[in-house]
């Protein structure tokens, strides 16, 4: 396994990494000349995909202003003849905002846990290089592909034993644990890219591990930490199985559960149900509007940047 840890990819001949690039700087280079003739085929393909993405989203959003009884007769694509905000009022009445609040709490908890744990663990893995940390790293690597479903039964048993059943912590703890392997991997990647010289300079200053961590490692892994935060936040925001099995009462309901249960409650009121979906997406959408770059860069980071 040690060989795996230290193995180079064929592409990388050199060991010493260049100082980490800020997100986006690499891409600023225009590698397709501006004066090049336009890529017609690519454009057409992109337009086709645009239709695939936008049509359902359009049908989704437009339906939320439609009255339930007009939905089928008027068809999904026509703007409502008699638009209404009533669906939104109903969704709010049904406690949707509370579910979003719960989800936000869960998300904050997961992100905090994952960022702290992944950062300290990765720091140890990259810089400590003892058999213990290698073992820990190996464990995380093997855990990379473990599906949360596979262990839901024992997780349920453990949560019940910890007397955490039906609390938000019951969702936070396993969600964070299952986000850890990918996050450790990402952070180990960005911490390895910090050049040896910088570490040595810190050491010459007489900095201990804590100072090195705060002054060098954290600032230099900012983009990795961003990726980790985005990744774990999405895991928490979208989590389904853990809340399904580990909570039950309505005041611990997170938004995915709320939607799942609305599906049963709303009966055949498709616009009502779709309104709940749209409302559930508003918080993330706002984040996206404000921080589109960081969100996209964060997710690109999952692929290794």
């Amino acid at each position: 396994m040690r060989s795996v840890v230290d193995e180079r990819t064929p592409a990388s001949g050199r060991r010493t990494a260049p100082p980490p690039r800020r997100p986006g700087t690499a891409g600023r280079v225009r590698h397709r000349g501006v004066g090049e003739r336009p890529n017609l085929l690519g454009g057409l393909g992109a337009l086709a995909w645009l239709a695939v993405v936008v049509l359902p989203l359009y049908a989704l959003v437009i339906a939320t202003f439609q009255r339930g009884e007009n939905y089928v007769p008027e068809g999904p694509l026509a703007p409502p003849s008699d638009p209404t905000l009533g669906n939104y009022a109903t969704a709010v009445d049904k406690g949707l905002l509370g579910f979003i609040g719960n989800t936000a709490l869960v998300t904050v908890g997961v992100v905090a846990l994952v960022v702290v744990l992944a950062a300290t663990t990765s720091f140890a893995v990259v810089r400590s290089r003892t058999r213990l940390t290698d073992t820990a790293f190996r464990m995380f690597l093997l855990g990379l592909a473990i599906p949360a479903q596979a262990v839901i039964i024992p997780v349920y048993v453990i949560i019940v034993r910890l007397e955490l059943y039906d609390t938000l912590a019951a969702i936070v703890l396993p969600t964070a644990a299952f986000a850890l392997p990918v996050c450790v991997l990402i952070l180990v990647g960005s911490m390895r890219d910090i050049s040896e010289e910088l570490y040595e300079a810190m050491a010459l200053d007489g900095a201990g591990p804590v100072r090195t961590f705060w002054r060098l490692v954290v600032p230099m892994s900012r983009s990795g930490l961003g990726t980790v935060a985005v990744y774990s936040a999405l895991q928490a925001w979208n989590g389904f199985l853990f809340p399904l099995i580990l909570t039950q009462s309505s005041d611990r309901r997170v938004i995915t559960m709320g939607l799942y249960e609305f599906q049963g409650e709303y009966r055949v009121d498709v616009p009502g149900l779709l309104t709940a979906v749209v409302l559930s997406t508003v918080p993330l959408f706002l984040v996206y509007l404000v921080a589109r770059r960081s969100l996209a860069d964060g997710l690109m980071g999952v692929g290794g940047k």
Partner: protein, 302 residues
């Protein structure tokens, strides 16, 4: 020149002790590793969720080996994985490379392409289920309008499975597109400039520069797809509940059904442990293939 040699040569000052890894490792141990061991244990017991598990020897495993439903589920999971990969990879690769260009229009379109990522799996499943409802959704309007009579893609075995594949593609292509976009932007422009001087066409450059340069991204994205398909569950539960019949009962759903519908937690444990083993094997292969362990130092070599 090997890393450990360098490490030993470097001063120890400022290096963290292994204790720094302890909180993370312990945490992962309790909520992920321990459960995996417990799953292995459960698979040798009969347990209905109440009271204490009773030792069952190999009962669950012999049953698993002979369960036609499990064979079917494994086949469906495999088909889901393969077809998801085959559909998502080309589309997301092409779109990703295309959108890596810095033209204003492309930037705008990538921003739109991102949108499905803002919806949770539950939301995606609910939206598509509503849109495909044969009586109260758009199909109730579209069927007669197009003269096709009543359409019920989720109601017939064959089409329901492909609906799941299509919804997975709709949901995840934006993510993979983003990965390829990121990958393509890291390809040094000099490579293209040199190729252009040599008179290479667009197709040639794509084939000889873009694809080889993206191979790490391709591996990463493929691995994510495989793992994702293995754990695809929320969508199946919400859209089809494993049906019609058992036509969309993939392995994770079968495990859920055995565990939380039939309350045969021992048998569910055997299915789950099978998943764990397969997932671990995939993780191993992935670590070998990607050199993930070496910390994606891919760009260093460029």
């Amino acid at each position: 020149m090997s890393a450990p040699a360098r490490s030993r040569a470097a001063p120890r000052t400022g290096r963290p002790g292994p204790l720094w890894a302890l909180p993370g490792a312990l945490f992962f141990g309790v909520f992920a590793v321990l459960p995996m061991l417990l799953v292995a244990y459960l698979s040798f017991t009969h347990w209905n969720g109440l009271g204490t598990p009773a030792f069952a020897g190999l009962d669950n495993w012999t049953r698993l080996a002979g369960d036609p439903l499990m064979h079917r589920a494994a086949g469906l999971s495999l088909l889901l994985t393969v077809s998801s990969w085959a559909i998502q990879t080309p589309i997301s690769l092409l779109l990703g490379v295309w959108s890596a260009g810095r033209q204003r229009g492309r930037a705008f379109l990538s921003a739109v392409f991102f949108l499905p990522l803002l919806l949770s799996s539950a939301a995606v499943a609910i939206v598509w289920r509503a849109l495909l409802d044969p009586n109260f959704g758009p199909l109730a309007w579209a069927g007669p309008a197009l003269g096709l009579g009543s359409l019920d893609p989720l109601g017939s075995g064959g089409s329901a499975f492909w609906v799941i594949v299509a919804v997975a593609a709709w949901q995840f292509i934006p993510l993979h597109m983003l990965l390829y976009q990121g990958g393509a932007r890291q390809i040094p422009a000099t490579l293209y400039q040199a190729a252009r001087i040599d008179g290479a066409g667009r197709l040639g450059m794509f084939w000889h520069i873009t694809l080889p340069q993206l191979r790490n991204t391709i591996t990463t994205s493929s691995v994510l797809m495989v793992v994702g398909s293995l754990t695809y569950f929320d969508t199946v539960l919400i859209m089809t509940d494993g049906g019609p019949g058992t036509d969309t009962t993939i392995v994770p759903y079968l495990m859920f059904r055995a565990g939380f519908r039939s309350w045969e937690l021992g048998y569910a444990g055997a299915i789950a442990f099978t998943l764990v083993v397969v997932a671990t094997l995939i993780a191993l292969v992935m670590v070998r293939l990607t050199g993930f362990g070496s910390m994606r130092s891919t760009r260093e070599g460029l």
